[in-house]
Symmetry: none
Subunit: 123 residues, 4 copies
């Protein structure tokens, strides 16, 4: 389902959230689509159900999905290029850029990295 890197310092719930967001913004998941249930996701991925709960509650909080009691969770209408998500990504990118600049990474090095990333296939 999703690829989890256990050796990463990024929490598992963040890794899954990022991958769901990528599916939404790439159009694989469209507004109105139903997501798998908490239980099916957690059992199929052998994860603690609390981990998946955290993913879904954050996504709902961000306005990307809507959970309907007794029915399931659905991609919301304004999920694509959702303002909260975009702002958060930009803030994180800003921090990473400032940090890189402050330790001496040059603008040229950053630009070539940007080129490289944007040429990559979507994973």
């Amino acid at each position: 389902m999703f690829v989890i890197d256990n050796s990463s310092k990024t929490p598992i719930y963040e890794q899954i959230k990022t991958q769901i967001l990528a599916l939404v913004s790439s159009g694989v998941l469209k507004p109105g689509d139903k997501l798998p249930s908490l239980r099916s996701l957690s059992s199929s991925m052998s994860l603690n159900i609390n981990t998946i709960k955290k993913v879904f509650s954050e996504l709902e909080n961000d306005g990307v999905i809507i959970s309907v009691l007794g029915s399931g969770s659905y991609v919301s209408d304004n999920a694509v290029r959702n303002p909260k998500i975009l702002e958060k990504a930009e803030n994180e990118l800003t921090e990473a850029l400032r940090s890189a600049k402050s330790v001496g990474v040059t603008k040229e090095e950053v630009l070539s990295l940007v080129e490289k990333i944007y040429e990559e296939e979507i994973r």
Copy 2:
């Protein structure tokens, strides 16, 4: 001395570490320079000495400073553009870029952000 944002999710010791690294790479702190003592730093910042110890021990581990028992801590000879530090910054930047791309931030938006950051005064 250093600016601490207590509301940040970034640990205090990371914030201080980042600022010391910036001082080193900007040349304010040069190889051989003596850093303030654990005690003077912790008391002037109203932080516990163990928090500062963590900062210094991480910096020593990264090869940026050298701590000498009974004498003090000094900027190491190969502190500037230190490979470990650069690699870490680039890895974090790569992650932030991939994440931004995956949620729909365009390459143009990224490039204009890069321009903006690299025009900023060093803080």
Copy 3:
């Protein structure tokens, strides 16, 4: 679990670290294996949890283990004959040899000591 010599000048955390490294390189602990939790180790050894934390954080820094928040600590994939660890051991051996030579220990005495050590059972 581990043998601690309180009268030794070697810090407790170093003693434990050394013994974990020996378990890893002898194959008793294999990549992927889970280490005991901080709490269980510290309570079973009657040591403060912070002492064990220091052991684990050094081992993680050396690339021997990986600590995962909420899950536990695991032997990393490249733990065996880890370059950092080998280099450190060789540097310490070099120092000890130079020091022994400088005070008049003969090469023959050293060679017979090496034979003796490498015939010892693994402790």
Copy 4:
């Protein structure tokens, strides 16, 4: 006078002690020779006098030198291949060998290191 490596984790007094022991066992300093005074040594090396005091008191304790109140310190008659010193060097070497063995350094690697060290010029 003596070479001090400030970036070493070996205390300065140990570094000096080792070098004095090397001078004795190589015959540069002979039994009966007078050592420089505490003050002249500490001032010429820009070291704290406590550091040199520690060196001399350890050497006296080991039976390598004899301090005569009001006169100075002299290399003792049984300074060469002094039993305490040899035993200490061998103990440290044993520890380093056991440690190297335990992290996977092979006997062959150790032997080639021994050859290399014993071919080195005395420093």
